[in-house]
Symmetry: C2
Subunit: 182 residues, 2 copies
Amino acid sequence: MNETLKTIQTRYSCRSFKDASIEKEKVDAIALAGVQSPSGLNIQPWKIIVVQNKEMIDEMDKTLMNKLASLEDRSIYERMMNRGGNVFYNASCMYIVAKVPGKDLDCGIVVENMALAASSLDLGNVICGMAAMLINDECGAAYKEKLIPEGYEFGVALLVGYPVDTEGTPHEPDMSKIIYVK
Amino acid sequence: MNETLKTIQTRYSCRSFKDASIEKEKVDAIALAGVQSPSGLNIQPWKIIVVQNKEMIDEMDKTLMNKLASLEDRSIYERMMNRGGNVFYNASCMYIVAKVPGKDLDCGIVVENMALAASSLDLGNVICGMAAMLINDECGAAYKEKLIPEGYEFGVALLVGYPVDTEGTPHEPDMSKIIYVK
């Protein structure tokens, strides 16, 4: 099996990051993988916002956890409490893919390129849609203003850092999802 | 640079495929990369339909080209004529990612995993959203019935085959799309 297939096979969603910052070359290589993504007619309907300010990530985490605690349905809050009490898992770096409205598929392509790049560099990573509950909510209005460029909206985020446990397990592939047509 | 980053960097959209079928192990490895994709809460809101029947792909191509020729706006038809006169570029294999309605971002993740897998196996590939103009149109109703499972809808397709020209060029990455936040 070649290295690319191995990266795809062994990548897992990391939900606990060490207090260790990421080397600049790695931070940059991940962002570069994002902008190397294909897009329809090569329109590239995205921006990639790289947040390495750990203090800001931690503040965003607290703000979102407070919001989740205040919801009537506390199931997400409780899931996060069971996973360590933080929603961004102590990530050192957050990549936000901002998109032109409607360009969700393109966002998926970009975030997977970045996720695989991070895994190939021995970094833990997890795709985080939940950051939308902060950025698109009143409680996160200041972050939206600071992070999302004019004309774009939040698409998806990727949390990256050195994993606490490097032996994460990917999901079992469901082969019944593949249909061969004769 | 590691092999995964190299695959991401050198992958290009291939728009001319040889008359050569793909080895079964490669066909399977690409589909496997698809079902190894991450998804929110691991819901895997997709099916991957693998079409290796070249006659069917060619028929679909003709049907869609006829439709494009009949449109008032013939710009797509003319683009396709300039590119060789076919919309699926003589691909040996078409992977359709069918999605649960609304799950476009997940589709993007799946199709990029498969595209990178194909490139890593020295196969040309191109992401094809345009197949929607066939599958979701009256002229493609029979294909929709045959290919798209109940409860799912067309998401995106990946065309794969051996490239006529192996020296394709990826787009120049636009570094201005990366914003570093202090």
